[in-house]
């Protein structure tokens, strides 16, 4: 099952496309990270999936074919928007009660216990809570709905490092304990390396790279060798990003073979997630999208669950 699936999805605001020709399939059972610079279209994609805006082109479904924004989709997705919007004048208890009344399912006991463990007073107004507490309250409200998919838009933007760590730990706990699929967006790459196992890289309103993090890392290498040979050598490879000094060149390449053999005088190193993402973000023209491989990834994921 794909938790978010889109085909030819586009969103235009007046004359500019915030998102165009976006075809993604995010399989269930992952913490999928939507990464890209500001204005890449991350929030637009998440808003479309949450049913907050209607697409200008194409379509998007969630949780295995439910149209975004439909009652069935809203029932299964918990969306925590950027900056954790909440009614600032309502107490935490009122926010629980509000969310309980607005949903078919709401686990009041879970929510109260969780807020108790976090030391968030139920009587305090949401607007008087610290940034980290507001984020945790928003997450609690979302999780108490027992969603199948948790969508978090820039959840860490407002948080200090400790709050970020606690927040992501809570997300991971829910993910592990309940099998909630998670899709989160961020422009802070370093934060995601520990948690994300599926990556969607976006820039300028398009999806540039998408896939299982392990697969992506396995299919990319950093080649280091003499700068003089770099241009000639690069023509034989699919180079994502090249950088070099006077003597040494570094080529981040996509390999199809796993043996890792390279030309004499060159060395191959595995790449990290941040290195990989940065290489693609520096080369907006480069793209690596799972084509026919997607099916295989999906089925493998299903089996591994």
């Amino acid at each position: 099952m794909n938790v978010i699936e889109s085909a030819g999805l586009g969103k235009r605001y007046h004359s500019t496309w915030a998102l165009r020709e976006c075809s993604v399939a995010i399989p269930a059972g992952h913490v999928a990270a939507l990464v890209g610079p500001n204005g890449a279209g991350k929030t637009t994609l998440l808003n479309l999936a949450a049913g907050l805006t209607a697409p200008s082109a194409g379509g998007v479904t969630v949780l295995g074919g439910r149209p975004a924004g439909s009652p069935a989709a809203l029932d299964g997705i918990a969306f925590v928007a950027q900056d954790m919007p909440m009614y600032k004048n309502l107490s935490a208890r009122d926010m629980l009660h509000l969310t309980r009344n607005l949903n078919r399912r709401f686990d009041q006991r879970y929510a109260e216990t969780r807020l108790g463990e976090l030391g968030i007073p139920l009587k305090r107004k949401a607007g008087k809570l610290s940034g980290g507490q507001q984020a945790q309250l928003a997450l609690t409200l979302a999780l108490a709905r027992r969603p199948r998919l948790l969508v978090l838009d820039e959840p860490m933007a407002m948080l200090d490092p400790i709050a970020r760590h606690d927040f992501m730990a809570s997300v991971m706990t829910a993910m592990v304990a309940d099998g909630v699929s998670v899709v989160l967006s961020s422009h802070v790459l370093a934060e995601l390396e520990r948690v994300a196992d599926y990556l969607i890289l976006m820039s300028r309103g398009r999806v540039q790279l998408a896939g299982d993090v392990d697969d992506l890392l396995a299919s990319h290498r950093m080649l280091t060798g003499p700068a003089a040979e770099a241009d000639r050598y690069a023509q034989r490879l699919s180079v994502v990003h090249a950088r070099g000094g006077e003597t040494q060149a570094h080529l981040l390449v996509r390999t199809t073979t796993a043996d890792g053999t390279v030309a004499p005088g060159w060395e191959a190193h595995p790449v990290g997630l941040e290195e990989l993402a940065l290489a693609y973000l520096r080369e907006p023209a480069a793209a690596a999208l799972p084509g026919p491989e997607r099916r295989r990834n999906t089925s493998r994921t299903e089996v591994s669950r």
């Binding site: 949450a50 607005l102 399912r105 976090l118 709905r145």
Partner: protein, 353 residues
């Protein structure tokens, strides 16, 4: 970190929507302070009206007693002035005219504009209840409650203005208004509730379209004023085709819409007679005293002109049509309000899904 796990999720066997009644608490919790403010505001106005209205009614009783024939010519003029001058600023209805607009602007406009401005719509519209049902479940009960509060308040208004609409006033030399008097028509009968309702609906739609609280409030007041002036100036005279009479005794309670003259069956002129005609047939000036505006009274003019083949025609709305007019205006305002709320809900729905 917490190791509390989420309990197992029951299967989605039947996906029935969240019941409507659950929005009752949500709407009440989020808008009870607005409702309280409206009640306090209308309550304070009502107390003010009851106190000053008491004086007005007293002055009226005194004036009627003083001027009833055989009139005590000494006390009657003073009593008349006392009645006509009591609470003049309230009597013209100006401040009360703005009340429905104020309720609409401050209760209706922020309803969606605040959600859109602060971003909380991204919370509210992604809950299982669904955005358009959420909007409908807020707008309709609030509209009903506000219209009801306005309706109860307008009972005080009806009582307050009663002395101005007594049919005998004219004969006593007291101020008598036509029940169609523009500044008061919308405050009496069902008018006040209907105008409050439409102001709220305008506010809700303006909030959805403009998405920011303060501009939405301004737009609501502007749109409401435009609608109120358009209704009073262009629509209301045409609710029913006017009665036409050649009688010279038009009661003070009638709403005169136009007057014209014919001579021997053909149209002569409309409105007041031209100066030339006046000079020709009334060389010594019209018989009888001049009217309050310095011009000769219509009756006196007619006395000059009718012997020469002129007939005065008057089209007017008789006072007995007050309630039909109220129902017509209330009816179309109700339909318009329903339409505006429907458009607002449709916009919420179109934005999502």
């Amino acid at each position: 970190m917490t190791a509390l796990s989420v309990p197992a999720r029951p299967e989605d066997t039947s996906l029935r929507p969240v019941p409507w009644r659950r929005m009752g608490w949500v709407t009440w919790r989020q808008h009870r302070s607005t409702l309280a403010w409206v009640v306090v505001f209308l309550g304070a106005l009502a107390v003010g009206l009851l106190l000053t209205g008491h004086q007005l009614h007293q002055a009226y009783v005194t004036a009627v007693a003083a001027c009833r024939p055989p009139a005590n010519s000494v006390t009657c003029p003073n009593a008349t002035i006392a009645f006509d001058g009591t609470n003049g600023f309230l009597a013209n209805g100006g401040i009360l005219q703005a009340t429905p607009a104020a309720i609409g602007a401050f209760a209706g406009a922020p309803l969606l504009a605040r959600e859109l401005e602060t971003g909380t719509f991204r919370y509210a519209w992604t809950q299982g209840f669904g955005p358009w049902r959420w909007a409908l479940a807020k707008l309709v009960p609030l509209a009903v409650l506000l219209a009801t509060a306005a309706g109860v308040f307008s009972l005080v208004l009806n009582w307050y203005y009663q002395p101005y609409f007594v049919a005998a006033n004219q004969n006593l030399g007291l101020e008598e208004l036509t029940p169609f008097y523009p500044a008061l028509f919308g405050l009496r009968g069902i008018g006040f509730a209907a105008w409050t309702l439409v102001a709220f609906a305008i506010g809700a739609l303006a909030g959805m379209l403009i998405r920011r609280v303060v501009p939405a409030i301004a737009a609501t007041i502007f749109a409401y004023a435009a609608l109120a002036f358009a209704a009073g100036g262009w629509l209301r005279p045409h609710y029913l085709s006017p009665a036409v009479t050649t009688s010279l005794n038009i009661p003070g309670s009638a709403w005169v819409q136009s007057q014209w003259w014919t001579k021997n069956g053909t149209f002569a002129f409309s409105g007041w007679p031209p100066e030339s005609l006046f000079a020709q047939y009334c060389p010594k000036g019209p018989p009888g005293p001049a009217g309050p505006n310095g011009k000769p009274k219509a009756v006196s003019l007619a006395e000059c002109l009718t012997p020469h083949g002129y007939t005065q025609w008057t089209s007017y709305q008789p006072a007995s049509r007050f309630w039909p007019f109220q129902w017509i205006e209330g009816g179309w305002l109700l339909v318009l309000s329903a339409l505006l709320i429907a458009v607002t809900v449709w916009l919420v729905r179109r934005r999502a899904t």
